[in-house]
Structure formats: C-alpha cells, structure tokens
C-alpha cells in the first residue's frame, strides 16, 4: 500500500493541526501512526479516510488522488474499512444487522449473500453467538471486534483504525489486538493510530511519529524504536517507555 501527502494543511480555528505536511510511505501490511495527543494523528487518519478534506494540499492513496466533493469521497470510503475509537456500532441494531447494513444498503448485496458474508466474518472473530445481541449487551472488546468485522465484511482495499483499543481495558485491548494481528496475516493493509507501543514495535512494518503539525519521522518499526533519529521522537519514546 502506498500513501503520499503533498503540502497537506488542516486547521481547526487557528490551530494548524497539520501544517503543510509532505510525506510518502510504502508498506506491505501495517503503518502505525504514533505521537502525543493533539499531535495530528487522528486528523491525518480522518483525511486518509475521506471523512474530512484538507484546507490545502493533496493526499494520494495507492497512486490515486483523493477527491474533494462528498459524492466522490463517499465512493472512495466504500472501498475503505474504517474503525473509530468507540461507538462505531449503531445501538438500535444487533451485531449481525450492523454488519449487514453496509452490505445490503451500500454494496447492494442480496440479503442471502449478505447474510453468508456477515456470518463468515462474525464466525472468523468468534462472534457468532453474539450475532443477535444489541451493542449494549456486548463488552467493549466484543463491540470493537464487531466493528472490525463490519469494516472487513465489505472486502475493503485497506483498513484505517483510529485508536481502536484506547477505550478498552488491558484484557479487551489484547483481544482486539489479536484480531488486528490476524488481519495482518490475511493480507489486508492497515493504517492504525495507536498508543500501544509494544504492538507497534512488534506488528507494524512502518512507524510514523506525528507531532507538532507534521510527520517528524517514519521508519521500519525495529529501527524506529531502537535508533530514533529526531530528538523529539527520542524524548517521546523515553517518556512513554519509562514505566
């Protein structure tokens, strides 16, 4: 998978969260975006997801420039699987109906075909016994796994995960990270924003450090954690790896 940014700026009010970012990366499986809160990781992911548009500059995913108008962006999003930190699921629908909704309404599958697909992904993540439960009856980890199943059911070109484990306790975090590792093995490329440094080090191909309105550093995971180049990355890693 290839992503490229060319002079991308995104501001909220006077706060330039991304400031003329130019960046290119190519990776097989996983790109992890790490960095301090408010540093622009999630903003970058939302731009890549086509949920927001930059104030200026362009983004390229696998060579194609992201469009600006909502209709074209919607078509783009249909080929991406997107999972947020929490509250991904629609609370009035069962886990199964959550997975079915995009299949039948967006990807125009017939109900039997969609059911087969949904059953498949739910079984893959050991969620079949929870298929008929509403999100309120699921644990946080189960909810995130359903959300990932929903994103994956449409057979996306790639997955974008925005801090998928930040709202979970350690046990559930592990349960969701297991799923992400499994995804990696199945070959769907993933870009994820995460605070799980151990996970980023072990599972990501590339790690990018996003801070102060830009991507300060991007390197293969082993290299990134063993010999960080920028002073800021070093300080950040020292701070968070201290305990």
């Amino acid at each position: 998978m290839r992503v490229a940014l060319d002079g991308v700026t995104k501001a909220f009010g006077t706060n330039r969260v991304l400031d003329a970012v130019t960046f290119e990366a190519e990776f097989d499986h996983t790109l992890a975006l790490i960095g301090p809160s408010g540093g622009g990781k999630s903003t970058l992911l939302r731009l890549l997801a086509g949920l927001d548009i930059p104030d200026s500059g362009s983004l390229f995913v696998n060579g194609a420039e992201l469009p600006q108008d909502e209709g074209a962006l919607r078509r783009y999003r249909r080929r991406a699987g997107i999972v947020f930190q929490a509250y991904n699921l629609f609370p009035h629908l069962s886990a199964l109906e959550n997975v079915l909704l995009p299949l039948t309404r967006v990807h125009q599958l017939s109900r039997p075909a969609a059911l087969e697909r949904a059953d498949g992904v739910l079984r893959r993540f050991q969620l079949e016994e929870h298929a008929f439960k509403q999100p309120a009856l699921l644990s946080g980890g189960q909810r995130q796994r359903v959300a990932i199943a929903r994103a994956l059911a449409t057979d996306p070109d790639f997955l974008l995960l925005d801090e998928p484990t930040s709202a979970l306790d350690p046990e559930m975090t592990a349960e969701v990270l297991d799923v992400i590792v499994e995804l990696k093995e199945s070959g769907t490329p993933i870009i994820l924003v995460t605070h799980e440094m151990g996970f980023a080090r072990r599972s990501a191909d590339l790690v990018a450090f996003v801070s102060h309105g830009g991507i300060q550093e991007c390197a293969p995971a082993a290299e990134f954690f063993s010999t960080p180049r920028s002073a800021e990355t070093k300080r950040f890693l020292e701070k968070i790896l201290k305990y």
Binding site: L51, I82, L89, F90, P102, R150
Partner: protein, 257 residues
C-alpha cells in the same frame, strides 16, 4: 403503624397500603362531591336524551385529533429537517415558523387563522380549517422534539454512517430516525394527549366537537354539572391511557439505554 402509609426508598410501602390509600382518597373525594353537588345534579335524564349528540362530538374530537396528529408529525419532521438545512432561507423559515407558533396562544391562532386567514381566502369549512390550525400549532412543538432527538444522536453515529458509505438520506433513514423515534415516542404520546385537549379550543369557531356539544347541551337543558361531568370524563377516557402509555414508554427507553 405510623409507617404504614409512608413510601420511602429504604422501606417501601406494602401493596395493601397503596391500595388502601387510593381507596380512602376515592371515598373521601366522592363524599365531598356528593355533599357539595348532590342537590344540583339531578337532571341526568334530560342530558341522557342528548347522548347521541354527545357521542358525535366525542367522535369529532377523536377524528380531528387523530388527523391533526398525522399532519403535525409530517410538519414536524419536515420542519426539523429544514431547521438543519444548510440552505439558510429554508433554515430561517423553519426557525421563524417554530418560534412564532410557540410564542402565540392557541386561541389567538384559532381566531386569527379562521376569522383572518381562512376568511380572507374564502375557506369556510370549519373542520378542515380547525385541523390545519391545530396541526400547524402542534407541528411546531413536534418539530422541536424531533430536532432535539436528532441532536441527541451523537456525532460518532454520523461518522460511522459516513464511514460505511451511507448517503445522507440513508443515514437518516437507517441510523438517525430509528434512534430518534425511540427517543421521542414518549413525549410524542404526551403531545397527542395535548392535542386532544387543545382541540377543545376549536369550539370558539363553532366546530361541533366535544366541548362545543357539551356547552350546547348545557344551554338547552340548564344542567351544568350533568353536561360537564361527562365532558371531563370523555376527555379523561382518552388522555389517561395515553399518559399511562407514555410513561410506560419512558420507562422502556430508560431501561434500554
């Protein structure tokens, strides 16, 4: 024994205490009414002669309220959507409509609507004018309920809907409205009850609904209590079940969320 009639969170009252309290209250209340009014309430047979008229008025009240409810729901949904529109003239029209209606008493709207607007355009069918006025009135309140309902659905739901590629129509249809419906069903039931009560004001433009009919029977028979006691009773028969249903729905929404 002193604790028998008290219902506290630490020591809830027994079922017997609740039933006994209700019975005592009913008995005391009936006794009071009997002492006060037994001499003046004697003309039941005179009023009984008008039972068919009474029933027709009651049927009119139900019909007007039911049609107005459907119409005001439609107005409410469209207005709520207009209030969220990106197109400013549309949004401002919706705001102006809602705030004007909510700022005026219903009587003023009924008088102005019928003797003013409807008269000016030559529309003289009282019932249909009444229904439209009532619908416009109730529609403004329902619009506010729906708007609040839509706003109570979190931003993350819109994001999730966009993330899976739903269009904005699909987002409303499959994600937002089902959640809004569940939220606003209890207040909506309350609004229906208000609508039934408010329809009584249409008597001032001569629509023969329940209140109008009761007033006529009173004038014809000089039997105030015998006319107005059934009147109140007829309204309660409609509004009490709705208010109980609304409360039941409230409990259910709370339980689910």
């Amino acid at each position: 024994m002193a604790a028998f009639f008290f219902d506290r969170s630490g020591s809830p009252a027994s079922r017997a205490a609740k039933v006994l309290s209700a019975l005592l209250l009913l008995l005391g209340y009936s006794l009071l009414c009997w002492l006060a009014f037994s001499n003046s309430v004697q003309n039941w047979d005179k009023v009984w002669a008008y039972r068919v008229t009474f029933f027709q008025g009651w049927a009119n009240t139900i019909g007007i309220s039911a049609v107005s409810l459907i119409l005001s729901m439609l107005i409410g949904v469209l207005t709520a959507l207009a209030r969220r529109s990106a197109f400013l003239p549309l949004r401002y029209s919706a705001v102006a409509y809602v705030e004007t209606i909510r700022g005026l008493p219903l009587v003023v709207l009924v008088l102005f609507g019928f003797y003013g607007v409807a008269n000016a355009v030559g529309w003289h069918d009282r019932i249909s004018v009444g229904i439209v006025i009532l619908s416009l009135f109730s529609g403004a309140y329902i619009a506010e309920m729906i708007r609040a309902g839509i706003e109570s659905v979190g931003r993350s739901q819109w994001d999730s809907a966009r993330a899976i590629g739903l269009t904005s129509y699909q987002t409303y249809r499959f994600v937002i409205f089902p959640q809004v419906a569940r939220q606003i069903l209890p207040p909506l039931a309350g609004q229906f009850s208000s609508l039934i009560k408010d329809s009584s004001l249409l008597y001032i433009i001569g629509i023969s609904e329940l209140t109008f009919v009761a007033n006529q029977v009173n004038s014809a028979t000089y039997s105030t209590f015998e006319s107005f006691i059934p009147l109140g009773f007829c309204y309660l028969v409609l509004t009490l079940p709705i208010s109980l249903w609304s409360r039941y729905l409230e409990g259910r929404v709370r339980y689910e969320s």
